[in-house]
Protein backbone atom coordinates (compact mmCIF):
# COMPACT_ATOMS: atom_id res chain seq x y z
CA UNK A 1 0.00 0.00 0.00
CA UNK A 2 1.35 3.40 -0.99
CA UNK A 3 0.47 4.81 2.43
CA UNK A 4 3.11 2.59 4.04
CA UNK A 5 5.86 2.84 1.45
CA UNK A 6 5.41 6.58 0.88
CA UNK A 7 5.32 7.20 4.61
CA UNK A 8 8.56 5.32 5.17
CA UNK A 9 10.28 7.10 2.29
CA UNK A 10 9.35 10.52 3.66
CA UNK A 11 10.26 9.59 7.23
CA UNK A 12 13.73 8.40 6.25
CA UNK A 13 14.37 11.42 4.05
CA UNK A 14 13.25 13.75 6.86
CA UNK A 15 15.72 12.02 9.16
CA UNK A 16 18.48 12.49 6.57
CA UNK A 17 17.61 16.16 6.13
CA UNK A 18 18.12 16.72 9.84
CA UNK A 19 21.67 15.35 9.66
CA UNK A 20 24.53 17.79 9.05
CA UNK A 21 28.32 17.42 8.85
CA UNK A 22 27.75 14.37 6.71
CA UNK A 23 31.37 13.64 5.86
CA UNK A 24 32.20 13.13 9.54
CA UNK A 25 29.30 10.71 9.86
CA UNK A 26 30.63 8.45 7.07
CA UNK A 27 33.59 6.20 7.74
CA UNK A 28 35.45 5.81 11.01
CA UNK A 29 35.23 9.11 12.93
CA UNK A 30 38.42 8.34 14.86
CA UNK A 31 40.46 7.83 11.69
CA UNK A 32 42.51 10.61 10.22
CA UNK A 33 41.11 12.53 7.31
CA UNK A 34 43.38 10.84 4.78
CA UNK A 35 42.80 7.27 5.98
CA UNK A 36 39.01 7.71 6.08
CA UNK A 37 38.75 8.78 2.43
CA UNK A 38 38.35 5.26 0.94
CA UNK A 39 35.60 4.39 3.42
CA UNK A 40 33.77 7.62 2.75
CA UNK A 41 34.08 7.19 -0.99
CA UNK A 42 32.67 3.66 -0.74
CA UNK A 43 29.78 4.87 1.40
CA UNK A 44 29.13 7.67 -1.11
CA UNK A 45 29.00 5.15 -3.95
CA UNK A 46 26.43 3.05 -2.09
CA UNK A 47 24.37 6.13 -1.23
CA UNK A 48 24.32 7.17 -4.87
CA UNK A 49 22.92 3.77 -5.81
CA UNK A 50 20.20 4.20 -3.21
CA UNK A 51 19.54 7.71 -4.53
CA UNK A 52 19.24 6.34 -8.05
CA UNK A 53 16.54 3.91 -6.86
CA UNK A 54 14.57 6.77 -5.30
CA UNK A 55 15.09 8.89 -8.39
CA UNK A 56 13.78 6.07 -10.58
CA UNK A 57 10.63 5.80 -8.51
CA UNK A 58 10.13 9.57 -8.71
CA UNK A 59 10.53 9.54 -12.50
CA UNK A 60 8.07 6.67 -12.95
CA UNK A 61 5.53 7.91 -10.40
CA UNK A 62 5.40 11.39 -11.92
CA UNK A 63 4.72 9.81 -15.31
CA UNK A 64 1.79 7.90 -13.79
CA UNK A 65 0.41 11.10 -12.26
CA UNK A 66 1.18 13.49 -15.12
CA UNK A 67 -1.77 12.70 -17.44
CA UNK A 68 -4.18 13.32 -14.57
CA UNK A 69 -2.68 16.52 -13.15
CA UNK A 70 -4.19 19.54 -14.81
CA UNK A 71 -2.48 22.79 -14.07
CA UNK A 72 -4.42 25.14 -11.85
CA UNK A 73 -2.36 28.10 -12.96
CA UNK A 74 -2.72 27.88 -16.75
CA UNK A 75 -5.96 28.91 -18.45
CA UNK A 76 -7.71 26.28 -20.53
CA UNK A 77 -6.55 26.39 -24.16
CA UNK A 78 -8.97 27.90 -26.61
CA UNK A 79 -8.13 25.19 -29.12
CA UNK A 80 -9.95 22.03 -27.93
CA UNK A 81 -7.39 19.85 -29.75
CA UNK A 82 -4.64 21.06 -27.44
CA UNK A 83 -4.48 19.55 -23.98
CA UNK A 84 -3.93 21.75 -20.96
CA UNK A 85 -1.37 19.40 -19.43
CA UNK A 86 1.18 19.65 -22.24
CA UNK A 87 3.78 21.11 -22.47
CA UNK A 88 5.53 23.44 -20.04
CA UNK A 89 3.31 22.71 -17.06
CA UNK A 90 5.06 22.36 -13.74
CA UNK A 91 4.52 18.62 -13.52
CA UNK A 92 5.65 18.18 -17.13
CA UNK A 93 8.82 20.10 -16.37
CA UNK A 94 9.38 18.05 -13.23
CA UNK A 95 9.00 14.84 -15.24
CA UNK A 96 11.51 16.09 -17.81
CA UNK A 97 14.03 17.13 -15.16
CA UNK A 98 13.65 13.86 -13.26
CA UNK A 99 14.21 11.78 -16.37
CA UNK A 100 17.24 13.87 -17.24
CA UNK A 101 18.70 13.44 -13.75
CA UNK A 102 18.03 9.70 -13.74
CA UNK A 103 19.48 9.10 -17.18
CA UNK A 104 22.51 11.35 -16.65
CA UNK A 105 23.59 9.54 -13.49
CA UNK A 106 26.31 6.96 -14.00
CA UNK A 107 25.37 5.17 -10.80
CA UNK A 108 23.23 2.02 -11.17
CA UNK A 109 20.14 1.35 -9.09
CA UNK A 110 20.72 -0.45 -5.80
CA UNK A 111 20.66 -4.22 -6.11
CA UNK A 112 18.34 -6.40 -4.08
CA UNK A 113 21.30 -7.44 -1.93
CA UNK A 114 22.09 -3.80 -1.16
CA UNK A 115 18.46 -3.02 -0.41
CA UNK A 116 18.09 -5.88 2.02
CA UNK A 117 21.43 -5.78 3.85
CA UNK A 118 21.39 -3.48 6.89
CA UNK A 119 24.29 -1.09 7.27
CA UNK A 120 25.96 -0.26 10.61
CA UNK A 121 26.31 3.35 9.49
CA UNK A 122 23.31 5.48 10.44
CA UNK A 123 23.37 7.66 7.31
CA UNK A 124 23.67 4.74 4.90
CA UNK A 125 20.97 2.86 6.80
CA UNK A 126 18.52 5.75 6.42
CA UNK A 127 19.27 5.81 2.69
CA UNK A 128 18.78 2.05 2.48
CA UNK A 129 15.39 2.24 4.16
CA UNK A 130 14.30 5.08 1.89
CA UNK A 131 15.46 3.26 -1.24
CA UNK A 132 13.81 0.04 -0.10
CA UNK A 133 10.53 1.89 0.36
CA UNK A 134 10.94 3.47 -3.09
CA UNK A 135 11.52 0.07 -4.67
CA UNK A 136 8.41 -1.30 -2.97
CA UNK A 137 6.42 1.79 -3.95
CA UNK A 138 6.86 0.87 -7.61
CA UNK A 139 4.22 -1.79 -6.91
CA UNK A 140 1.86 0.87 -5.62
CA UNK A 141 2.08 3.67 -8.16
CA UNK A 142 3.32 2.26 -11.46
CA UNK A 143 1.55 0.12 -14.02
CA UNK A 144 -1.93 -1.13 -13.19
CA UNK A 145 -2.00 0.61 -9.81
CA UNK A 146 -1.22 3.97 -11.42
CA UNK A 147 -3.93 3.43 -14.03
CA UNK A 148 -6.57 3.40 -11.30
CA UNK A 149 -5.63 6.77 -9.81
CA UNK A 150 -8.16 9.57 -9.83
CA UNK A 151 -7.16 13.11 -10.72
CA UNK A 152 -7.13 14.40 -7.09
CA UNK A 153 -5.13 11.32 -6.04
CA UNK A 154 -2.68 11.96 -8.87
CA UNK A 155 -2.28 15.52 -7.59
CA UNK A 156 -1.37 14.19 -4.14
CA UNK A 157 1.11 11.78 -5.71
CA UNK A 158 2.68 14.57 -7.78
CA UNK A 159 2.99 16.64 -4.59
CA UNK A 160 4.74 13.74 -2.86
CA UNK A 161 7.15 13.29 -5.76
CA UNK A 162 7.89 17.02 -5.68
CA UNK A 163 8.67 16.92 -1.95
CA UNK A 164 10.92 13.86 -2.33
CA UNK A 165 12.69 15.53 -5.26
CA UNK A 166 13.30 18.67 -3.22
CA UNK A 167 14.76 16.52 -0.46
CA UNK A 168 17.10 14.84 -2.97
CA UNK A 169 18.23 18.23 -4.28
CA UNK A 170 18.95 19.55 -0.78
CA UNK A 171 20.82 16.39 0.18
CA UNK A 172 22.75 16.48 -3.09
CA UNK A 173 24.02 19.95 -2.21
CA UNK A 174 24.90 18.86 1.31
CA UNK A 175 26.85 15.76 0.21
CA UNK A 176 29.17 17.63 -2.16
CA UNK A 177 32.18 17.10 0.10
CA UNK A 178 31.93 13.33 0.01
CA UNK A 179 34.87 12.05 -2.07
CA UNK A 180 33.75 10.95 -5.55
CA UNK A 181 30.24 12.37 -5.16
CA UNK A 182 28.38 12.81 -8.45
CA UNK A 183 25.98 15.72 -8.55
CA UNK A 184 22.44 15.50 -9.90
CA UNK A 185 22.07 16.84 -13.43
CA UNK A 186 20.63 20.36 -13.48
CA UNK A 187 19.93 20.44 -9.76
CA UNK A 188 18.68 24.02 -9.88
CA UNK A 189 16.16 23.26 -12.60
CA UNK A 190 15.08 20.12 -10.74
CA UNK A 191 14.57 22.03 -7.49
CA UNK A 192 12.57 24.82 -9.10
CA UNK A 193 10.40 22.37 -11.07
CA UNK A 194 9.68 20.50 -7.83
CA UNK A 195 8.79 23.74 -6.10
CA UNK A 196 6.49 24.81 -8.93
CA UNK A 197 4.79 21.41 -8.94
CA UNK A 198 4.23 21.55 -5.18
CA UNK A 199 2.73 25.02 -5.57
CA UNK A 200 0.53 23.99 -8.48
CA UNK A 201 -0.76 20.94 -6.61
CA UNK A 202 -1.48 22.94 -3.48
CA UNK A 203 -3.75 25.25 -5.52
CA UNK A 204 -5.95 22.25 -6.32
CA UNK A 205 -7.54 19.79 -3.93
CA UNK A 206 -5.24 16.79 -3.64
CA UNK A 207 -6.89 13.64 -2.34
CA UNK A 208 -4.69 11.83 0.15
CA UNK A 209 -6.77 8.68 -0.10
CA UNK A 210 -4.01 7.78 -2.56
CA UNK A 211 -2.42 6.29 0.56
CA UNK A 212 -5.02 3.53 0.47
CA UNK A 213 -4.18 2.51 -3.09
CA UNK A 214 -1.53 0.13 -4.32
CA UNK A 215 -0.52 -3.41 -3.67
CA UNK A 216 -1.94 -5.26 -0.69
CA UNK A 217 -1.06 -8.69 0.57
CA UNK A 218 -3.64 -11.40 -0.01
CA UNK A 219 -6.22 -11.61 2.76
CA UNK A 220 -6.44 -14.88 4.66
CA UNK A 221 -8.98 -16.16 7.11
CA UNK A 222 -8.22 -15.37 10.75
CA UNK A 223 -6.21 -18.24 12.19
CA UNK A 224 -6.71 -17.29 15.81
CA UNK A 225 -9.17 -19.92 16.91
CA UNK A 226 -12.86 -19.29 17.48
CA UNK A 227 -13.47 -16.09 19.40
CA UNK A 228 -16.17 -15.62 21.98
CA UNK A 229 -19.05 -13.19 21.93
CA UNK A 230 -19.55 -10.55 19.28
CA UNK A 231 -15.91 -10.86 18.19
CA UNK A 232 -16.67 -14.44 17.16
CA UNK A 233 -19.42 -13.15 14.88
CA UNK A 234 -17.03 -10.57 13.45
CA UNK A 235 -14.42 -13.27 12.89
CA UNK A 236 -16.87 -15.55 11.07
CA UNK A 237 -18.11 -12.67 8.92
CA UNK A 238 -14.52 -11.79 8.00
CA UNK A 239 -13.78 -15.39 7.08
CA UNK A 240 -16.97 -15.51 5.04
CA UNK A 241 -15.79 -12.54 2.99
CA UNK A 242 -12.44 -14.25 2.42
CA UNK A 243 -14.14 -17.51 1.43
CA UNK A 244 -16.45 -15.73 -0.98
CA UNK A 245 -13.53 -15.48 -3.40
CA UNK A 246 -14.60 -18.87 -4.71
CA UNK A 247 -17.78 -18.99 -6.78
CA UNK A 248 -20.66 -20.64 -4.86
CA UNK A 249 -23.36 -22.91 -6.24
CA UNK A 250 -26.88 -21.48 -6.43
CA UNK A 251 -27.94 -23.36 -3.31
CA UNK A 252 -24.93 -22.16 -1.33
CA UNK A 253 -25.54 -18.61 -2.52
CA UNK A 254 -29.09 -18.84 -1.18
CA UNK A 255 -27.76 -20.00 2.19
CA UNK A 256 -25.24 -17.15 2.30
CA UNK A 257 -27.88 -14.59 1.34
CA UNK A 258 -30.15 -15.99 4.03
CA UNK A 259 -27.39 -15.67 6.63
CA UNK A 260 -26.76 -12.04 5.70
CA UNK A 261 -30.43 -11.20 6.04
CA UNK A 262 -30.56 -12.77 9.50
CA UNK A 263 -27.31 -11.16 10.63
CA UNK A 264 -28.29 -7.69 9.47
CA UNK A 265 -31.69 -7.87 11.05
CA UNK A 266 -30.44 -9.03 14.44
CA UNK A 267 -27.41 -6.73 14.50
CA UNK A 268 -29.65 -3.77 13.59
CA UNK A 269 -31.61 -4.39 16.79
CA UNK A 270 -28.42 -4.65 18.86
CA UNK A 271 -26.75 -1.56 17.47
CA UNK A 272 -29.83 0.62 17.85
CA UNK A 273 -28.80 1.82 21.31
CA UNK A 274 -25.35 2.98 20.24
CA UNK A 275 -25.86 4.08 16.63
CA UNK A 276 -29.41 4.60 15.40
CA UNK A 277 -28.27 5.69 11.93
CA UNK A 278 -26.31 2.51 11.36
CA UNK A 279 -29.22 0.49 12.67
CA UNK A 280 -31.43 1.96 9.93
CA UNK A 281 -28.83 1.13 7.30
CA UNK A 282 -28.62 -2.46 8.45
CA UNK A 283 -32.41 -2.80 8.46
CA UNK A 284 -32.41 -1.61 4.87
CA UNK A 285 -29.65 -4.14 4.13
CA UNK A 286 -31.75 -6.92 5.65
CA UNK A 287 -34.69 -5.88 3.45
CA UNK A 288 -32.46 -5.92 0.35
CA UNK A 289 -31.24 -9.42 1.17
CA UNK A 290 -34.82 -10.51 1.84
CA UNK A 291 -35.80 -9.40 -1.66
CA UNK A 292 -32.74 -11.07 -3.15
CA UNK A 293 -33.57 -14.29 -1.34
CA UNK A 294 -37.07 -14.14 -2.81
CA UNK A 295 -35.66 -13.75 -6.32
CA UNK A 296 -33.28 -16.67 -5.80
CA UNK A 297 -36.08 -19.15 -5.01
CA UNK A 298 -36.34 -20.25 -8.62
CA UNK A 299 -32.62 -20.19 -9.36
CA UNK A 300 -30.67 -23.43 -9.46
CA UNK A 301 -27.34 -24.67 -10.69
CA UNK A 302 -24.63 -26.99 -9.49
CA UNK A 303 -21.60 -25.23 -10.91
CA UNK A 304 -19.38 -23.77 -8.22
CA UNK A 305 -18.37 -24.55 -4.66
CA UNK A 306 -18.85 -22.31 -1.66
CA UNK A 307 -19.03 -24.97 1.07
CA UNK A 308 -16.50 -23.23 3.37
CA UNK A 309 -18.29 -19.90 2.86
CA UNK A 310 -21.59 -21.45 3.90
CA UNK A 311 -19.90 -22.92 6.97
CA UNK A 312 -18.60 -19.49 7.99
CA UNK A 313 -22.01 -17.93 7.35
CA UNK A 314 -23.60 -20.57 9.57
CA UNK A 315 -20.95 -19.88 12.24
CA UNK A 316 -21.77 -16.18 12.18
CA UNK A 317 -25.51 -16.75 12.54
CA UNK A 318 -25.13 -19.39 15.26
CA UNK A 319 -22.70 -17.25 17.28
CA UNK A 320 -24.97 -14.24 16.98
CA UNK A 321 -28.01 -16.22 18.08
CA UNK A 322 -26.08 -17.36 21.15
CA UNK A 323 -25.63 -13.76 22.26
CA UNK A 324 -28.18 -12.11 24.54
CA UNK A 325 -30.37 -9.62 22.73
CA UNK A 326 -29.25 -6.75 24.99
CA UNK A 327 -25.60 -7.09 23.92
CA UNK A 328 -24.08 -3.67 23.32
CA UNK A 329 -22.07 -3.32 20.13
CA UNK A 330 -19.27 -0.81 20.48
CA UNK A 331 -18.86 1.75 17.67
CA UNK A 332 -15.52 0.25 16.70
CA UNK A 333 -16.98 -3.24 16.34
CA UNK A 334 -19.94 -1.78 14.44
CA UNK A 335 -17.52 -0.05 12.06
CA UNK A 336 -15.78 -3.40 11.57
CA UNK A 337 -19.08 -5.03 10.66
CA UNK A 338 -19.81 -2.18 8.26
CA UNK A 339 -16.50 -2.69 6.48
CA UNK A 340 -17.19 -6.40 6.11
CA UNK A 341 -20.78 -5.79 5.01
CA UNK A 342 -19.50 -3.40 2.35
CA UNK A 343 -17.13 -6.06 1.04
CA UNK A 344 -19.86 -8.71 0.97
CA UNK A 345 -22.37 -6.33 -0.62
CA UNK A 346 -19.85 -5.69 -3.35
CA UNK A 347 -19.03 -9.36 -3.87
CA UNK A 348 -22.59 -10.82 -3.95
CA UNK A 349 -23.73 -8.80 -7.01
CA UNK A 350 -20.46 -9.75 -8.74
CA UNK A 351 -21.22 -13.42 -8.09
CA UNK A 352 -24.79 -13.13 -9.37
CA UNK A 353 -23.73 -11.26 -12.50
CA UNK A 354 -20.99 -13.80 -13.19
CA UNK A 355 -23.41 -16.68 -12.63
CA UNK A 356 -25.99 -15.20 -15.01
CA UNK A 357 -23.46 -14.31 -17.70
CA UNK A 358 -21.64 -17.64 -17.62
CA UNK A 359 -24.80 -19.73 -17.40
CA UNK A 360 -23.87 -21.18 -14.01
CA UNK A 361 -27.19 -20.11 -12.54
CA UNK A 362 -30.32 -21.49 -14.16
CA UNK A 363 -34.01 -20.73 -14.00
CA UNK A 364 -36.26 -23.53 -12.70
CA UNK A 365 -39.17 -24.32 -14.99
CA UNK A 366 -42.64 -25.06 -13.70
CA UNK A 367 -43.98 -28.58 -13.84
CA UNK A 368 -46.85 -28.69 -16.35
CA UNK A 369 -50.28 -29.01 -14.79
CA UNK A 370 -52.84 -31.55 -15.83
CA UNK A 371 -54.36 -30.44 -19.10
CA UNK A 372 -57.75 -31.84 -20.14
CA UNK A 373 -58.35 -30.17 -23.50
CA UNK A 374 -55.06 -30.80 -25.30
CA UNK A 375 -55.71 -34.36 -26.30
CA UNK A 376 -53.13 -35.67 -23.84
CA UNK A 377 -52.99 -36.04 -20.11
CA UNK A 378 -50.06 -33.74 -19.47
CA UNK A 379 -47.81 -31.55 -21.58
CA UNK A 380 -44.52 -33.34 -22.20
CA UNK A 381 -41.58 -32.25 -20.02
CA UNK A 382 -38.72 -31.16 -22.23
CA UNK A 383 -36.58 -29.08 -19.91
CA UNK A 384 -36.43 -28.57 -16.21
CA UNK A 385 -33.97 -25.66 -16.22
CA UNK A 386 -33.41 -22.80 -18.62
CA UNK A 387 -30.40 -20.50 -18.85
CA UNK A 388 -30.95 -17.42 -16.74
CA UNK A 389 -30.13 -14.72 -19.25
CA UNK A 390 -30.13 -11.00 -18.65
CA UNK A 391 -33.76 -10.71 -19.77
CA UNK A 392 -35.12 -13.59 -17.70
CA UNK A 393 -33.00 -12.67 -14.68
CA UNK A 394 -33.89 -8.97 -14.78
CA UNK A 395 -35.70 -9.04 -11.44
CA UNK A 396 -32.78 -10.88 -9.86
CA UNK A 397 -30.24 -8.41 -11.22
CA UNK A 398 -32.42 -5.51 -10.12
CA UNK A 399 -32.49 -7.00 -6.62
CA UNK A 400 -28.68 -7.10 -6.51
CA UNK A 401 -28.55 -3.40 -7.41
CA UNK A 402 -30.15 -2.61 -4.07
CA UNK A 403 -27.02 -3.91 -2.35
CA UNK A 404 -25.09 -0.69 -2.42
CA UNK A 405 -21.94 -0.63 -0.29
CA UNK A 406 -21.94 2.36 2.02
CA UNK A 407 -18.40 3.36 1.10
CA UNK A 408 -18.67 7.12 1.17
CA UNK A 409 -15.75 9.12 -0.20
CA UNK A 410 -14.08 10.53 2.87
CA UNK A 411 -11.36 13.15 2.89
CA UNK A 412 -8.25 11.38 4.04
CA UNK A 413 -5.83 13.41 6.18
CA UNK A 414 -2.44 14.14 4.61
CA UNK A 415 -0.62 12.22 7.34
CA UNK A 416 2.14 13.25 9.67
CA UNK A 417 5.09 12.20 7.52
CA UNK A 418 4.23 14.76 4.80
CA UNK A 419 4.35 17.68 7.24
CA UNK A 420 7.47 16.18 8.87
CA UNK A 421 9.27 16.12 5.51
CA UNK A 422 8.19 19.67 4.72
CA UNK A 423 9.44 20.96 8.08
CA UNK A 424 12.69 19.01 7.63
CA UNK A 425 13.16 20.67 4.24
CA UNK A 426 12.76 24.09 5.82
CA UNK A 427 14.63 23.55 9.09
CA UNK A 428 17.93 25.23 9.86
CA UNK A 429 20.64 23.61 11.92
CA UNK A 430 21.02 24.89 15.44
CA UNK A 431 23.99 27.27 15.59
CA UNK A 432 26.30 27.20 18.55
CA UNK A 433 25.74 30.41 20.38
CA UNK A 434 28.50 31.82 22.50
CA UNK A 435 27.94 31.13 26.15
CA UNK A 436 26.62 34.39 27.55
CA UNK A 437 28.14 33.48 30.86
CA UNK A 438 27.01 34.84 34.14
CA UNK A 439 26.55 38.60 34.18
CA UNK A 440 29.02 40.31 36.37
CA UNK A 441 31.63 37.59 36.26
Amino acid sequence: MYGETGDQMRTELAALLRQHRIVQRLGDPSATAASAVPDREAAGTVIQQYRQTILSWCAEAVMAAKPLVFSATLPSPTNPFKTSSEPHTAVGELARALHLARDASTSPRATTALLTTPSPNEVVEHWRQAARAAALAEHDTNGAAGARLTSPQAQALAGDVAAVTQALVVLDQRYLNIPGWERLAEPGRLGWAALATALDVSLGQPDYSVDNTGWRPRTHELRIGPQKGILGVLQAEHDLLVRLKSFPTAMNLRLIVDSQQRLSRRLALMVERTDAGRSGMWRARAASYSLLKQQLRDVGGRIGKGGPAVAEAANAVARLRALPTDTIIEPRVAAGFQTLFDGIDQRIPEIVHTGVDRGAYLHRLQVPRLVTDAGQLVSPVHERFMPLGRARGKDLLDATRRLVPSMEPTRAPPGRSRSALHSALLHRPETRRPDPGIPGL
Binding site: Q261, R265, Q294, Q366
Partner: protein, 99 residues
Amino acid sequence: MDLEHALTLAQARSFVAALADAAVDDDASAAFERVLIELDWLHGDASPGLDTDGLSEDRDVLYVAATAAIESLALFGMDALDLELLLVRLEAARALDRP
Protein backbone atom coordinates in the same frame (compact mmCIF):
# COMPACT_ATOMS: atom_id res chain seq x y z
CA MET B 1 -37.76 -37.74 -10.32
CA ASP B 2 -41.24 -38.92 -11.32
CA LEU B 3 -43.71 -36.43 -12.64
CA GLU B 4 -45.99 -37.04 -9.67
CA HIS B 5 -43.07 -36.48 -7.29
CA ALA B 6 -42.18 -33.29 -9.13
CA LEU B 7 -45.79 -32.12 -8.94
CA THR B 8 -45.97 -32.78 -5.20
CA LEU B 9 -42.64 -31.07 -4.61
CA ALA B 10 -43.72 -28.09 -6.71
CA GLN B 11 -46.88 -27.83 -4.65
CA ALA B 12 -44.96 -28.03 -1.37
CA ARG B 13 -42.52 -25.35 -2.55
CA SER B 14 -45.31 -23.13 -3.78
CA PHE B 15 -47.26 -23.35 -0.54
CA VAL B 16 -44.19 -22.61 1.58
CA ALA B 17 -43.19 -19.70 -0.68
CA ALA B 18 -46.72 -18.31 -0.43
CA LEU B 19 -46.52 -18.60 3.36
CA ALA B 20 -43.22 -16.68 3.30
CA ASP B 21 -44.77 -13.94 1.17
CA ALA B 22 -47.84 -13.67 3.40
CA ALA B 23 -45.95 -13.78 6.73
CA VAL B 24 -46.70 -11.06 9.28
CA ASP B 25 -43.08 -10.01 9.74
CA ASP B 26 -39.57 -10.54 8.44
CA ASP B 27 -38.63 -13.10 11.08
CA ALA B 28 -41.50 -15.39 10.17
CA SER B 29 -40.85 -14.87 6.47
CA ALA B 30 -37.18 -15.76 6.96
CA ALA B 31 -38.18 -18.91 8.84
CA PHE B 32 -40.42 -20.04 5.97
CA GLU B 33 -37.68 -19.22 3.47
CA ARG B 34 -35.37 -21.45 5.46
CA VAL B 35 -37.88 -24.32 5.16
CA LEU B 36 -37.95 -23.72 1.41
CA ILE B 37 -34.17 -23.83 1.18
CA GLU B 38 -34.04 -27.05 3.20
CA LEU B 39 -36.72 -28.59 1.00
CA ASP B 40 -34.57 -27.87 -2.04
CA TRP B 41 -31.48 -29.11 -0.19
CA LEU B 42 -33.16 -32.46 0.46
CA HIS B 43 -33.81 -32.79 -3.28
CA GLY B 44 -30.28 -31.94 -4.33
CA ASP B 45 -31.44 -28.60 -5.78
CA ALA B 46 -33.31 -30.44 -8.55
CA SER B 47 -36.64 -28.89 -7.60
CA PRO B 48 -39.13 -27.56 -10.14
CA GLY B 49 -40.13 -23.92 -10.31
CA LEU B 50 -42.73 -22.21 -8.15
CA ASP B 51 -46.31 -21.94 -9.28
CA THR B 52 -48.11 -19.64 -6.87
CA ASP B 53 -50.87 -18.52 -9.25
CA GLY B 54 -54.35 -19.06 -7.88
CA LEU B 55 -53.24 -20.16 -4.42
CA SER B 56 -55.35 -19.29 -1.40
CA GLU B 57 -54.34 -16.21 0.56
CA ASP B 58 -55.50 -17.74 3.82
CA ARG B 59 -52.39 -18.63 5.79
CA ASP B 60 -54.16 -21.41 7.71
CA VAL B 61 -55.18 -23.07 4.49
CA LEU B 62 -51.68 -22.65 3.05
CA TYR B 63 -50.11 -24.13 6.15
CA VAL B 64 -52.33 -27.21 6.10
CA ALA B 65 -51.71 -27.67 2.38
CA ALA B 66 -47.94 -27.28 2.82
CA THR B 67 -47.91 -29.82 5.66
CA ALA B 68 -49.91 -32.30 3.60
CA ALA B 69 -47.66 -31.85 0.57
CA ILE B 70 -44.48 -32.34 2.60
CA GLU B 71 -45.92 -35.45 4.25
CA SER B 72 -46.82 -36.78 0.80
CA LEU B 73 -43.19 -36.62 -0.24
CA ALA B 74 -42.60 -39.72 1.91
CA LEU B 75 -44.47 -41.70 -0.77
CA PHE B 76 -41.67 -40.98 -3.23
CA GLY B 77 -38.82 -42.42 -1.25
CA MET B 78 -37.83 -39.37 0.77
CA ASP B 79 -36.39 -40.07 4.21
CA ALA B 80 -39.15 -39.90 6.81
CA LEU B 81 -36.88 -38.40 9.49
CA ASP B 82 -35.78 -35.58 7.18
CA LEU B 83 -39.40 -34.82 6.40
CA GLU B 84 -40.33 -34.85 10.10
CA LEU B 85 -37.54 -32.38 10.87
CA LEU B 86 -38.78 -30.22 8.02
CA LEU B 87 -42.28 -30.32 9.45
CA VAL B 88 -40.93 -29.27 12.85
CA ARG B 89 -39.25 -26.29 11.23
CA LEU B 90 -42.43 -25.46 9.38
CA GLU B 91 -44.34 -25.58 12.64
CA ALA B 92 -41.76 -23.31 14.31
CA ALA B 93 -42.09 -20.84 11.46
CA ARG B 94 -45.85 -21.00 11.80
CA ALA B 95 -45.50 -20.23 15.52
CA LEU B 96 -43.55 -17.08 14.63
CA ASP B 97 -46.18 -16.14 12.09
CA ARG B 98 -49.01 -15.91 14.59
CA PRO B 99 -49.74 -12.23 15.37
